[in-house]
Every structure is written in structure tokens, then in C-alpha cells.
């Protein structure tokens, strides 16, 4: 009876470890997907740059039209960006000034979603106007309707009216200022050119293929993966260390099964000896205990996976306060249960327990039948 209880407890220990692994995997997958969606959503999927020996893209309207014709492309935005110094009263800040076509840029980066005050549309209605990142507007202490002075060596100074405040949830909010494309071309004194073309595609995973296609049309292009290799690295590294730690938890839980099986081998040594006397070979005795270990592990794994799925589904998502712009504004993590994770965890636990069962199984198979049967 007490052995039965011990068996149940050691199976439950595995179940608990598997449940934690399953839940944590669901949250990890959710985080990865959310992080990926949020981050990749805020960056151009494909960026086209000037040819290697040129500073600007000339005849960019043709290029834009050509790219719009490619299957899978949903937005194309020509941009002229450069440095500028913004002055307001006693404050002075160096900024990145991006000249954009509002509709085109919105189709690539959904900038209208990030507007907190005013509107992007006013950039094209009001001459000499600017939309500032919210951090930048704080540092300059300007509000909607104020005028900032823009200047830079070799640029044509201008006074710009603040028509919007923008929050992207990235560190760019400290440095970014949007103007209309024509305004930027006037400021930098470079009419009819841009220095990058940003592209949005319907599926970010296809960015590489489309970038390659654009490349082969003669415009140097790179996908978000190439421009931001650290994103994938961070995600892979984090989920890998998570998996290793929780995999070890399962290994530790499996020791419970090993100790239970040792007890069984001790208590049942008479029966094991008898089975040998009746013709069970040492190998088949070994098989019995390895299988018992594996099956107990399997039961624990299935119980744990089911419990983990129930918890994940009933909890739904985990909301937390990011307290800043870390993790690209991810503040709600959905629990995502994937069949492949459940199956992988069950197989892993089963295998770990098969291996863990080898030791007590060898012990059982090495019993001397004479001693086992006659021993008290």
C-alpha cells in the first residue's frame, strides 16, 4: 500500500515537472511569436539602398512602381533620411529627419497607429511641418503647434511646425522626426532623390525571397533578417536555455521513479527469483523493469502535458508591466499550445525514464535466484 502511494507520488512528481515544462513552453512560444510580431511589424521587411558607388537612389518613382508589381509586396515607401539639429528655446537636439510620403510609409510601417497627438496627414497639408517622437518632444519641451528650428551644415535651414507626436515603443522615439518627402528634399537640397526604399510584404517569412528578387532586378536589397540578425539569435538563445533548465527538472523528477523501482526490486526479489526459476531470462527481467520505468514516466508525462494544456488554455495570456521599452513593447504574452511541443515533451520524458530504468533493471536482472527465493 505504501509502495503504491510512493509510486503514485513519483509519477506525480514527473507530472508536475512536465506540467511546468509544458506551461513554460506555451508561454515561451507565445512570447517568441509576440516579440517577433511586434518587432518585425515595426521594421521594414525589405530595405533597398543606393547602389554601392552612389549616395542616393535616382529615379526612385520607377523603382517604386517596379517593386509594387512584385507578388507579395503590400507596401512601398521611398524615404530620404539624414541628420539635422533641432532647436527650441534653450534646447538643442541632433535628430534623424525622415522625409516620407505619409500614405506610402503608413502602408509599410503602420505609422498612423503610433500617433498619440495630432496627425501624420498634416505633414502634407501644412508646409514646413514635423512629427516628433514622444521622447524627443519631451527633451525639446515642445507641444503641438510650437515651432522648432531645423538646421545642419550644408542644409537649408527651416522652421518647422510640430503637427504630431508619435510613439513607436522603440528607442527611435528619442531621435526620429518625420517630415514630408518634399520638405526633406528641400532641406537637404537634393530634389528628386531618396536614400532608401522600404518595403512591406504580406508574410515576413518570405522577406528573404522577395529581397532576393529585388536584388536581381538591380537594386541592392536586404531583408529584416539580414539587417537585424540579433533578433533571431536572442529568441533562439532564450528558449534554448529555458528548455535545458526544464529538461533537467524532468531528469531530476525521474530519480523518484528510479528510487521507487529500487524499492520494488528489493521487495519483489522473491517474485523476481521465482520468475527466473520459471524460465524468465535475465534479459527479459531487465526489460520488465525498464518498461515499467518508461510506462510510469509516460503516465506522468501525459498527466503533466494535459495539466499544462489545461492551465495554459484557462489562463489564456499573461499580462505584465514592461516598465519601459524593453522587449519591443510586448506586455501581453499569449499561452500558445502546440501539438508538436506536447508530443516532443512526452517522447523526451518517456526516453529519459527508459534510460533511468536501466539501473534498477540491471540490479533486478543480476539477482541470484537461489538467494532471492530462499532469502527472508
Amino acid at each position: 500500500m505504501s509502495r503504491r502511494r510512493q509510486t503514485i507520488f513519483s509519477v506525480l512528481a514527473i507530472g508536475l515537472a512536465v506540467m511546468i515544462l509544458m506551461t513554460s513552453q506555451a508561454i515561451m512560444v507565445g512570447f517568441t511569436q509576440e516579440f517577433y510580431a511586434k518587432t518585425v511589424d515595426k521594421m521594414p521587411h525589405v530595405t533597398i539602398e543606393p547602389k554601392p558607388d552612389e549616395d542616393y537612389i535616382h529615379l526612385y518613382r520607377n523603382v517604386v512602381e517596379n517593386i509594387k508589381g512584385i507578388d507579395g509586396v503590400v507596401g512601398v515607401s521611398p524615404v530620404l533620411a539624414g541628420q539635422a539639429t533641432f532647436d527650441y528655446k534653450d534646447f538643442s537636439k541632433n535628430v534623424i529627419m525622415q522625409g516620407i510620403l505619409v500614405n506610402d510609409h503608413d502602408s509599410v510601417l503602420h505609422i498612423n497607429e503610433g500617433i498619440t497627438e495630432g496627425s501624420f496627414r498634416d505633414l502634407e497639408v501644412t508646409h514646413n511641418s514635423v512629427v516628433l517622437g514622444d521622447k524627443l518632444s519631451d527633451k525639446l519641451d515642445v507641444k503641438i503647434g510650437d515651432y522648432v528650428d531645423a538646421s545642419f551644415p550644408e542644409a537649408n535651414p527651416a522652421t518647422l511646425k510640430v503637427v504630431g507626436i508619435y510613439n513607436s515603443g522603440t528607442p527611435q522615439d528619442e531621435t526620429l522626426a518625420f517630415t514630408s518627402l518634399s520638405m526633406a528634399q528641400d532641406f537637404f537640397d537634393e530634389p528628386n532623390v531618396v536614400n532608401s526604399i522600404m518595403v512591406r510584404v504580406d508574410n515576413p517569412d518570405n522577406a528573404g525571397v522577395i529581397s532576393h528578387k529585388i536584388d536581381s532586378m538591380g537594386y541592392p536589397a536586404s531583408s529584416w533578417r539580414e539587417t537585424n540578425p540579433e533578433i533571431m539569435q536572442t529568441i533562439t538563445l532564450e528558449s534554448m536555455s529555458n528548455d535545458i533548465i526544464l529538461g533537467l527538472v524532468i531528469v531530476i523528477a525521474s530519480f523518484g521513479i528510479v528510487s521507487t523501482l529500487f524499492m520494488v526490486v528489493m521487495e519483489k526479489s522473491k517474485e523476481i527469483g521465482m520468475l527466473m526459476a520459471m524460465g524468465a531470462s535475465r534479459r527479459s527481467i531487465q526489460k520488465i523493469f525498464i518498461l515499467e520505468s518508461g510506462i510510469l514516466g509516460l503516465i506522468g508525462a501525459v498527466v503533466g502535458v494535459v495539466a499544462g494544456i489545461i492551465i495554459s488554455l484557462s489562463w489564456g495570456s499573461y499580462t505584465f508591466d514592461t516598465g519601459g521599452e524593453a522587449y519591443a513593447g510586448v506586455s501581453t504574452i499569449p499561452f500558445i499550445v502546440r501539438a508538436q511541443d506536447a508530443i516532443l515533451i512526452i517522447i523526451f520524458t518517456f526516453l529519459v525514464n527508459l534510460i533511468a530504468g536501466i539501473y534498477p533493471a540491471r540490479r533486478a536482472s543480476k539477482l541470484d535466484p537461489v538467494e532471492a527465493i530462499s532469502g527472508e
Binding site: 522473491k270 517474485e271 527469483g273 521465482m274 520468475l275 527466473m276 526459476a277 520459471m278 524460465g279 524468465a280 531470462s281 535475465r282 534479459r283 527479459s284 541470484d368 535466484p369 537461489v370 527465493i373 530462499s374
Partner: protein
């Protein structure tokens, strides 16, 4: 004729070394014929159980050979010895050693299942054996629901279920009262006559030994006396 000699033991020696060397069996030669009903007796420590375990292939000798049905068992692998134990040898111990988690019928079925016989077929054969030992109506009882004598009968049915050519008993009635042990003896004797199986019993019970065909007396690991009973009952 050599095929009548089911067991041939030559120069059998078993030495235990626990700091001191103990010769449990010392250079024993012995032949046993098919269908013999024989008792091994002797004082405790004389090596009779050790000898029995060698014949039963539960232990390996230090030197010498044991031929079962003409095959040298000392050269066999664990798998071959296991198969031999399963098919040619049946054991009855002082305690029944039935598996407590199973009922009488399932216990009797185990050797058949180890042999690889289908469950339905094994069940049929096991029921037949339970009938022979007079316990057909107790087939679904567990060890703790049966008396000592009944459990020993189940153990006998289990030992005989594969129709082994040799049945080995290590004090098979040592744990029973006189009435029960007499009826167990009668049962073994009946099975011996019915199926021409060879029976080797180790016993302390001289009145029981007196009823067998042949008595081998061991002293200090050697055969001290080998006598045939002219008029066994």
C-alpha cells in the same frame, strides 16, 4: 541405455569463498533415470540444497558437468538455461512463492506465458492442471484467500504446467502439517506415475523419504549412501 539416464552428473564441485573456502559439493558423480522418484537427504549443511540448485540450473558449479537429457548445461548461455528451466524443469519450494498480485489461475499460467503460449491456450492448460491438483473451484482466488496446503497445490500445478521432464522439490512439504504433507506426497506420487516425470525431492522428513524409490544421503558434500527402496509405497 543412455537415453534413460535423464540426468548425468560428473565430478561436480561447488566451492563458496567467503574468506574461508567451503566445499558445499565435493566431486559428486550421480546418474538419475527417467521416471525415478528420488529423495536427497542429509543433515543441514550437507550440500543437498546446493546440489539441487545445480540440477535446477539456478546456480552454476565451480567445476564438473551436468548433462540434462544428454545436453551439457554448464556450457549453456543464460538464455538457453532459462529456456531449459522453463520447458524441462519444474520447481516446488518450501514456501509456495506464488505472486500475490495474481490469482491461482494466473499464477499457473505464468510459465506458459514465459514460454510464449497464447493467453487463451495457456488458460485452458492451466485450468486442466488446477483440476489435477483438485483446486478448479479456487481458480480465481488469490494467495491470501487460500490455505497453506491449497497454495502449495497451486505451486505444484504451476511447476507442472509446462509438463517438465524433471520436477524438483526443495522441502515441498516442510511448511505443512502431517495431514497436508501426506496428501501433497500422494499428489506428487500420482503425477509421477501418471506422466512418467522424474521427481527429485530434498527433504528432512525421513518418513516421506522412506516412501520414495531411491534415497541419496549426502554428508559434507559427498554421497554417503545411495540406496534403492525395494518396496516403495
Amino acid at each position: 541405455m543412455s537415453d534413460e539416464k535423464i540426468i548425468q552428473i560428473r565430478n561436480l564441485t561447488k566451492i563458496y569463498e567467503n574468506g574461508v573456502e567451503i566445499r558445499a559439493i565435493d566431486n559428486v558423480d550421480m546418474d538419475i533415470e527417467t521416471g525415478e522418484f528420488l529423495a536427497i537427504v542429509g543433515p543441514s549443511g550437507s550440500g543437498k540444497s546446493t546440489l539441487l540448485h545445480q540440477i535446477a540450473l539456478l546456480d552454476t558449479p565451480t567445476s564438473g558437468t551436468i548433462l540434462l537429457k544428454g545436453e551439457d548445461t554448464t556450457k549453456m548461455s543464460d538464455k538457453q538455461r532459462s529456456r531449459m528451466r522453463n520447458e524441462e524443469l519444474g520447481f516446488i519450494f518450501q514456501y509456495h512463492h506464488l505472486l500475490p498480485d495474481f490469482n491461482a489461475l494466473e499464477n499457473v499460467m505464468i510459465p506458459l506465458l514465459i514460454k510464449g503460449i497464447r493467453r487463451s491456450e495457456a488458460k485452458k492448460v492451466a485450468l486442466q492442471l488446477l483440476e489435477e491438483v483438485g483446486l478448479i473451484d479456487r481458480a480465481d482466488h488469490r494467495t491470501n484467500q487460500l490455505s497453506g496446503g491449497q497454495n502449495q497445490r497451486v505451486a505444484i500445478a504451476r511447476a507442472l504446467v509446462n509438463r517438465p521432464s524433471i520436477v524438483i522439490g526443495d522441502e515441498p512439504t516442510g511448511n505443512l502439517d502431517t495431514k497436508n504433507s501426506d496428501s501433497i506426497y500422494e499428489l506428487l506420487r500420482h503425477l509421477n506415475r501418471e506422466h512418467k516425470q522424474t521427481f527429485i525431492l530434498v527433504t528432512h522428513d525421513l518418513s516421506m523419504a522412506a516412501k520414495t524409490d531411491r534415497i541419496i544421503t549426502l554428508v559434507d558434500g559427498k554421497i554417503a549412501e545411495d540406496s534403492r527402496n525395494v518396496s516403495p509405497t
